[in-house]
């Protein structure tokens, strides 16, 4: 993948955090570093972040993307209503979720569908390479710039 200069995404704020009472911090630490290195403005909310904190941070920063991480197996419960709250706050950010999204040895296709239904634009599994996240964000954020109707998918 050709690297895009570090200043390309200046001003595109990305909200990052681990939702619910999940404390797995290593994944977002790595992601923050990769996104920052790629030139994104990252606001890392850390672990154990409530839905409401994601929403207010996204609204306050007029974020281009909200990245939700969940490892501990309660993602579905924790994300219930997140997209409705984002919409209420007038936030049209792209939303990603990634990590270990189900308890136990679940079928990925099913898990993915669950989170698409909840409103996430992209669903990433725990094998995700940080560079793949950077590449997706670059694509999706450029896309929202030129194709504003993209946002309606989320509302």
């Amino acid at each position: 993948m050709a690297r895009i200069g570090a200043d390309t995404h200046m001003g595109q704020t990305v909200i990052l955090g681990v939702i619910g009472s999940d404390a797995h911090v290593v994944g977002i630490t790595i992601l923050e570093q990769a996104l920052t290195a790629a030139g994104f403005d990252v606001e890392n909310l850390g672990v154990q972040t409530a839905k409401a904190e994601f929403v207010s941070a996204a609204a306050a920063e007029d974020a281009g993307a909200v990245l939700v991480s969940s490892l501990y197996g309660h993602a579905r419960q924790d994300c219930q209503g997140l997209h409705e709250q984002l919409a209420e706050a007038g936030c049209d950010a792209i939303t990603y979720i990634g990590g270990n999204l189900a308890v136990g040895q679940n079928d990925w296709a099913e898990t993915e569908q669950t989170f698409r239904t909840l409103g996430f634009d992209r669903v990433f599994d725990a094998e995700t390479d940080p560079e793949a996240v950077v590449a997706s964000l670059e694509r999706d954020l450029d896309m929202t710039a030129t194709e504003p109707e993209r946002a309606s998918v989320n509302t």
């Binding site: 911090v25 850390g46 309660h74 419960q77 308890v103 136990g104 634009d121 992209r122 940080p130 560079e131």
Partner: protein
């Protein structure tokens, strides 16, 4: 004010009765009745006795699912099909957050749907009688494993319920497990837990306590883990705990792991009071696992082999499904048996490895310096000193999500794969030790033709899941690229657009 002093009996009873009111099941947790129940248990269900008298390392898995009958069945399976010597009951995340309401919902949901909608066993919601049913239904001692900063009610219910071992501690279940819990308060809460265990101990029921050694599970420098174990051990001993199992999580370098286990044992003996029986537990690799059961079995294999060399009193096993999610019972039992085969094949061999003493010496020097800094931060009081040392950064844990820790320490592997420290922050460590680490990391940097940086850390975090011990740069890494994963891009996203 927080002090490392025995909680008075009266205060214990007062706090206990207040706590028992917090959730309906608390009412059933009568101490006298509980002592009687414990006394009725046969010798082979007495945790401290079984662990302390074993000749060879005992194996214990992790396991916890929401419903009682499922949990009993699971534990029996791990006993008979996995050959577990000691059993666990892992508690769900809501209970760890003291969100018993949410746990109740999850449990109801699990009962309705038949799915495991909680990531563990909500023991407080189940209550004392259910716990006793569980203890009665299995044939080995059972430990409560969790990750709860405020585990007071959990301890009240589970100890009354017949569990004889209780994992955790004020540092090890705060720093890696939460963001906002205040460390001082957490210590107070654990003083209560330890005091409760001490009360049982006074009555002849020697509850085993096990501080959680692996901390964040991710490249934790051994000396930091050991220092935390000593501090939690001291705090527990003050409250009357007499059976302590100090923990350590495998880092993957054989020499360093064996040295660390020995250092843990030796420093435990040195620092803990004589009337405490200290044992050790070795956790198979606690960091990111490979997303492949066959490779995961390789990681478990190295864990078993290291355990056989280091000879801890107990080994906590991993399953080949660690990467994916909570394992099936079959996978969990498989992890036990793979470990058992390796341990048993190696245990009778005398394998003497060079260079362990040197590594042990540097680990001990560092750990001692950390423990001593806590003493001096607290003017001799361990409780105060722990809070102050974390505040100043003199004591710190890498990747700690907790606001109570600086998390300024950054670890990286040296050229031999031993975990060293790249960024010290304000960690209270002698300069000579820092020089040794610096030299080793410089050597690695030279080998790899790159400078010491966070890139090394990120690469090391992924290394074992990518199939290597050390996160070397790979041919495909560009000069300015992101963290190499050693295997190339993989896994990933799945979107339907």
């Amino acid at each position: 004010m927080l002090r490392d002093e025995l909680i008075a009996g009266e205060q214990l009873r007062e706090t206990e009765s207040e706590l028992r009111g917090r959730w309906p099941t608390g009412a059933d947790a009568d101490f006298e009745d509980a002592v009687e129940f414990h006394e009725s248990l046969p010798g082979h269900k007495r945790f401290a006795e079984v662990l302390e008298s074993a000749d060879d390392p005992l194996l214990q898995p992790r396991a916890g699912i929401p419903r009682l009958d499922d949990q009993v069945e699971l534990l029996r399976y791990l006993e008979t099909e996995g050959g577990a010597d000691l059993l666990p009951t892992t508690i769900d995340s809501y209970t760890r957050d003291n969100e018993y309401e949410k746990a109740a919902e999850g449990l109801a949901d699990a009962r309705d749907s038949g799915d495991d909608t909680l990531n563990g066993f909500p023991a407080v919601n189940h209550g004392v009688d259910a716990c006793r049913d569980l203890i009665r239904s299995v044939d080995a001692p059972v430990e409560v494993r969790h990750g709860t900063p405020d585990a007071r009610l959990l301890a009240i219910v589970t100890l009354a319920g017949g569990f004889q071992s209780f994992e955790g501690g004020p540092v090890s279940y705060n720093i890696p497990y939460t963001k906002e819990h205040d460390l001082e308060e957490t210590i107070e809460h654990w003083q209560f837990v330890d005091r409760l265990c001490g009360a049982y101990t006074e009555r002849g029921v020697r509850i085993n306590r096990e501080p959680f050694g692996p901390l964040t599970g991710t490249l934790v420098p051994p000396a930091i883990a050991i220092a935390v174990m000593i501090l939690e051990g001291l705090l527990a001993a003050t409250q009357g705990v007499r059976s302590l199992t100090l923990g350590y999580g495998q880092v993957g370098n054989v020499v360093q792991d064996v040295a660390a286990l020995r250092a843990l044992r030796d420093l435990g003996e040195e620092y803990l009071p004589d009337d405490v029986v200290a044992t050790t537990v070795f956790h198979e690799w606690m960091g990111g696992f490979p997303p492949d059961e066959a490779r995961a079995n390789g990681v478990i294999g190295l864990g078993g082999a290291t355990a056989a060399l280091a000879r801890p009193d107990k080994v906590i096993t991993k399953s080949p499904q660690e990467f994916q999610g909570v394992p099936t019972r079959e996978a969990n039992a498989a992890g036990l048996r793979t470990t058992r085969q390796l341990v048993d094949m190696m245990l009778e061999q005398e394998i003497v490895i060079d260079g362990i003493d040197e590594e042990q010496e540097i680990i001990e020097r560092t750990a001692r310096s950390l423990v001593e800094t806590v003493f001096s931060h607290g003017d001799g009081d361990v409780a105060q000193g722990t809070v102050a040392a974390f505040e100043s950064g003199a004591l710190d844990v890498p990747f700690a999500p907790s606001d109570s820790a600086a998390a300024a320490v950054l670890p990286a592997r040296d050229d031999d794969g031993r975990v060293r420290v790249l960024e010290w922050g304000d960690l209270a460590v002698p300069d000579e030790v820092k020089e040794v680490h610096g030299a080793r990391l410089d050597q690695r940097a030279r080998t790899e033709g790159r400078s010491r940086s966070f890139r090394m850390v990120a690469d090391d975090v992924d290394a074992i899941s990518d199939g290597k011990l050390i996160g070397r740069p790979t041919a495909s890494d560009g000069d300015t690229g992101g963290p190499g994963d050693g295997v190339g891009p993989q896994g990933g996203e799945s979107d339907a657009d």
